[in-house]
Amino acid sequence: MTTTVLPRVTYLNVRHGLASWLLTKDHKRIGIMYLIVVSLAFFLGAIFAAGVRIELTTPQGDFVSADTYNRMFTMHGVFMVFFVLIPVVPAILGNFVMPLMIGAKDVAFPKLNLLSWYVFVLGFSLALVALLSGGVDTGWTFYTPYSSNVSNSNVALVGVAVFITGFSSILTGLNFMVTIHRMRAPGMTWFRLPLFVWALYATSLVMILATPVIAITAGMLALERVFGFGIFDPRLGGDPVLFQHLFWFYSHPAVYIMILPPMGVISEVIACFSRKNVFGYSFVAFSSLAIAIFGFLVWAHHLFVAGISPYSAMVFSFLSFAVAIPSAVKTFNWTATLYQGAIWWRAPLIWVFGFLGLFLVGGLTGLFLASLGLDVHLHDTYFVVAHFHYIMVGGAIMGYFAGLHYWWPKITGRMYSDSLAMLSALLVFVGFNLTFFPQFILGYLGMPRRYHAYSAEFQVLNVLSSAGASILAVGYGLIAVYLLYSLWRGEEAGANPWLATGLEWKTESPPIPENFPETPIVNEGAYEYSKREIKVA
């Protein structure tokens, strides 16, 4: 419980004042700035989720009107997908630790990195303006022709917000890709890179190739709304299904923007807390690339009931199954890494266990949905909602918190309460399953998504789900409490509290502004735990 102020210069105290943050080019500070905005977006998205769950405790639509309900689940989706899940790991943790991990002073384009943050904030602000002026009721998928010709909500503004935010993601992906290619320290060869860096590289690939397509699609939608252009308008002979193709050409790979970086986090944390080299390093590394590439070939599994040809549906069904292979490769390699490891029971690892359980369920139920016949039954039911929440919240958010707990001592120089962190991991895991497992059953029984009233027989499962959501809220709230508390009462972390390998642990916590006193020289792989005589409690 020391509160000694060290005279050391760190990236946090090198300059003071708001302007020193708003004009910073330091990747570490930019990571923190993303942390603040993304946390805000997460809070907003959670409030809308709460509204949805309150409405669904009773079969009657009695809490809000149907129209308000439509706006609530849309704004929940928009904030969570575009302003939380997409940036959460790459822009916060990736920005902070990736340059440290490869031994660089900064990303390749520091000014562009700051610009990405401003572009992100601009997009976020526009979404807020859209929210305050009534929100949007189309669902986060903005399907035409409802979004282009019918809806009288603020579609154009949210379209522009998504368009703009897309550029933040594109620029981050570009920056990371060039950084990983050209900024590695001497001796940091490709196969010595930490797996988190490989995961970010694969993510950058998806950001660069997929995000421009959603940007132009949102742009076309805005042209159609504002100027009355007719690209998707069926009255002119335009094809609304074209919109769905373009939308999912991005939005399926976007799932990999959300899940690949947390997968990278999992590799880091598992290696550290089982004190072992990652089992099958190159398989884990290449499975990231395989996921990124296969991920581009499966989008039409969202269109099985949209009238596409049965032959293309069969191909897309088969390819969707194929994506499961590299994901399974990762999961088996993680398990093999844990096997006979010297498991060190610390909070980050507990979050990883949460990830593994939830990701497994999410991944396997994805195969149900990829099966053509079954999808016809389950399409647009709560089964789909449960499936993608298992991946995007169970997987991505659990992985994010694993990473945040792992690198928090590096970021802040402080330790948080390990037991409270384990408790919150447990609460989130239990709350999550209670919230979303009943939704699998609801979907299987035929409850459609996006309705604010439902038949009475579904009430028990819906009440369970809403109860789970409140536990989930407590779990997330607790994280904010002990992490913020650690900022002024946490113990000093020291450079390497987890006795981890990796360059980011070789510099002090919090790091100095230029990351390393001198450019490090790398002469071993990323996970040489077995070479080390480290005894941990």
Binding site: R182, A215, L246
Partner: protein, 241 residues
């Protein structure tokens, strides 16, 4: 392959202060603090621009996908819509842009050889050609406006496929508008580069900004090389025959 990349990505093998083969000095005024050498800085900027151009291909790709689908579905309307465009102005603009790519290449070459005045001169010629393109484009748009050929509430078109022609013209304005926006951005970038060149910021050792602006400029030209036949030349042989 990974080893080759690692070797190239490893220019810090030399101590920063020693003059390396590329002639980069340790404290060249253009060297940013997070790079070890000018060579590394140059590689980073060039790779960054190429990656950016890949994102641009995907960006135009979304619109071109829509173009492809409807062209296959509505060939007659595509022919009708295409004949509405002024092929002489389109061809003139194509020549102007190809010429501007040539002058841009001269500008890059001049910068590499350290010919400062020639660099400035060629950059100015390139900007003038770019502006010429935009002015011609303005008159084409103006003409469409006068004829009520802008898609939307006031759209009027006589012909058997008026609805699908409206889709064609939506894509015409979408594609050429996006291209024109890129031209405006390109001219603005060249204005900054010209100013930098006139202040003597570039040398045979350091001219990366000229080079990567050139890459961008050539890319915007190439986009037009695709747009011109796709939009103006759909069914011209039929018309001539």
């Amino acid at each position: 392959m990974p080893d080759g990349l690692a070797a190239r990505a490893d220019p810090h093998g030399h101590a920063p202060a020693s003059a390396t083969g590329s002639g980069a000095a340790g404290h060249h005024p253009a060297l940013q603090h997070h790079f070890q050498t000018l060579e590394q800085q140059h590689e980073v900027a060039t790779l960054g621009m190429w990656v950016f151009l890949v994102t641009e291909v995907m960006f135009f790709g979304g619109l071109l996908m829509a173009y492809l689908l409807y062209r296959v579905w509505y060939p007659a309307a595509w022919s009708e819509g295409s004949l509405e465009l002024d092929i002489r102005l389109g061809a003139f603009n194509t020549v102007v842009l190809i010429g501007s790519s040539l002058t841009m290449a001269f500008a890059v070459r001049s910068a590499q050889t350290g010919a400062q005045r020639a660099t400035v001169r060629w950059l100015i010629v390139t900007m003038i050609l770019g502006l010429t393109f935009l002015v011609v484009k303005y008159f084409e748009y103006k003409h469409k406006w006068d004829l009520n050929h802008i898609p939307g509430a006031n759209f009027q078109f006589e012909g058997p496929h008026a609805h699908q022609v409206e889709i064609f013209l939506s894509l015409y304005f979408g594609l050429t508008g996006l291209h024109a926006l890129h031209m405006i951005i390109g001219v603005s970038i060249l204005a900054v580069i010209t100013w930098m060149a006139s202040r003597g910021r570039f040398s045979p050792q350091w001219n990366t900004p000229v080079e990567i602006s050139g890459l961008y400029w050539h890319f915007v030209d190439i986009v037009w090389i695709f747009l011109f036949p796709l939009l103006y030349l759909v069914d011209r042989a039929h018309q001539l025959g």
